[in-house]
């Protein structure tokens, strides 16, 4: 029942957002979210956005995982 894929807010009107989930558009209520803006990535559960994803934290987790996996070098080379 939980949707793990982050959805991107592309439009907001009256506490309702249009979200993009991997290319599919859906609507989600923003009634349970503190603050949100177009462009934010959110977790959506049964038609409600329940959390804005912390992008810095996501990047940090990935960085640590990659570092641990010891291929941080080719990552740097790839992204520049």
């Amino acid at each position: 029942m939980c949707l793990a894929i982050p959805s991107k807010i592309i439009h907001i009107e009256n506490e309702m957002a249009t979200i993009d989930v991997d290319g599919v558009k859906r609507s989600a209520s923003l009634m349970l979210l503190e603050d949100s803006a177009v462009g934010d990535y959110v977790i959506v559960h049964a038609g409600f956005a329940i959390k804005k994803l912390d992008e810095d934290s996501a990047k940090e987790t990935i960085r640590l995982l990659r570092e641990a996996a010891a291929f941080v070098d080719d990552l740097e080379a790839g992204k520049g």
Partner: protein, 363 residues
């Protein structure tokens, strides 16, 4: 700057590395329990069980909302569907769950108006569009779903929809952890649910952790999230230093989502609840407050919960508490399968029996 991290978390190199690390550090045989149906499915689908060393067993806990719903609650839902001029609105999983003599699906075939909805607001819309009918939403789910149900009640209240109500069978997770930790089964660590934790936050587990000192890690849903969380649990076990850790910080904060909690607490009060396989757990359920009594289907319809035995031979209760795995149920695959489910664990897509059936490929 785009958040394509979803893909990054699928990186097979990260998964391989984490699995190798777990294999290297894991010495003691341990049993970890995942307390979230979505984790159960993610674990099976990603195939990470096959990457783990033999020392690690993963058990599914009471994390599938439909599965933990007590038989008497299922029966109450069915009784509701038999009420005249009533539309029962529910998320899909519940429809096929067998009650004591029927199911919502059977009632529907016999003419009851049972509708599947995607969001609780769809149920409110049904009430608006059908002013001459009573529309009841079946409230099943944990702290992730309960705020969305509370939001629907607040919306109905605001719109003065007096034909909308909710039959709440909602349950909350931390008291179930207490019941499991106090129980007979030995669990060496908990993979705590991702999206329940989004709402309730890390702090909600603190008192449970302090009381039991059992390794606890909140996990995300991607393969590398899950492996990382398992690696953290193994680290805690092997070092003898249990901790309450967050492996999903991009979504879970110490305080959770205060706005969602406030909406939930406005409408619901904590009360005792019956769990399939566990029984009554004190302060583990959510009942609609007096203030919103007009939206409480238990009061509107005067339907009471009547004790009911679980389906004969079904081991769902033992599976939900980690005492058995599905192949140990004599009905598994012989009588019970997703086309002809005997218990809810085979109905729900998040049920352990359904996950074994679909992904395990065992005998």
């Amino acid at each position: 700057m785009t958040l394509k991290h979803s893909q990054d978390f699928h990186d097979p190199r990260i998964a391989r590395h984490l699995a190798a690390r777990i294999t290297r550090i894991s010495r003691k045989p341990v049993r970890f329990m995942e307390v979230c149906g979505t984790h159960t499915v993610a674990i099976f689908r990603s195939g990470i069980r096959s990457l783990l060393p033999e020392t690690i067993s993963l058990l599914s806990g009471p994390g599938c909302p439909v599965c933990v719903t007590a038989q008497q609650e299922i029966d109450a839902f069915i009784a509701l569907a038999r009420e005249p001029e009533t539309i029962v609105a529910t998320f899909g999983d519940l429809i096929r769950v067998p009650g004591s003599g029927s199911s919502l699906q059977r009632e529907k075939a016999d003419g009851a108006d049972v509708r599947m909805v995607y969001s609780t607001f769809d149920a409110v819309a049904l009430a608006r569009e059908n002013p001459d009918k009573r529309v009841v939403f079946l409230g099943v789910g944990f702290e992730t779903t309960a705020p969305t149900v509370a939001a629907a009640i607040l919306a109905a209240h605001q719109q003065r929809l007096d034909n909308f109500s909710v039959m709440s069978a909602h349950k909350i997770v931390p008291p179930a952890l207490e019941a499991l930790a106090d129980g007979t089964i030995n669990i060496d660590g908990f993979l705590l649910p991702g999206h329940v934790s989004v709402i309730i936050g890390m702090d909600a587990y603190r008192s449970f952790f302090e009381a039991h000192r059992v390794p606890c890690v909140v996990a995300g849903f991607e393969p590398s999230d899950l492996l990382q969380s398992i690696a953290m649990l193994v680290d805690q076990v092997e070092s003898g230093r249990p901790a309450l850790e967050n492996a999903y910080p991009r979504a879970v904060s110490p305080a959770g989502n205060p706005k969602a909690m406030a909406v939930m607490n406005e409408v619901f009060a904590v009360g005792d609840a019956d769990w399939r396989g566990i029984g009554t757990i004190p302060a583990s359920g959510l009942a609609i407050r007096e203030k919103y009594a007009a939206f409480d289907a238990f009061r509107v319809f005067d339907i009471r919960l009547k004790p009911a035995p679980e389906p004969k031979g079904c081991a769902c209760g033992e599976i939900l508490t980690g005492m058995k795995i599905p192949p140990q149920c004599p009905l598994y695959k012989t009588v019970c399968n997703p086309m002809a489910p005997v218990g809810p664990c085979m109905v729900s897509s998040e049920g352990t029996c359904a996950a074994y059936y679909r992904y395990h490929g065992d005998g």
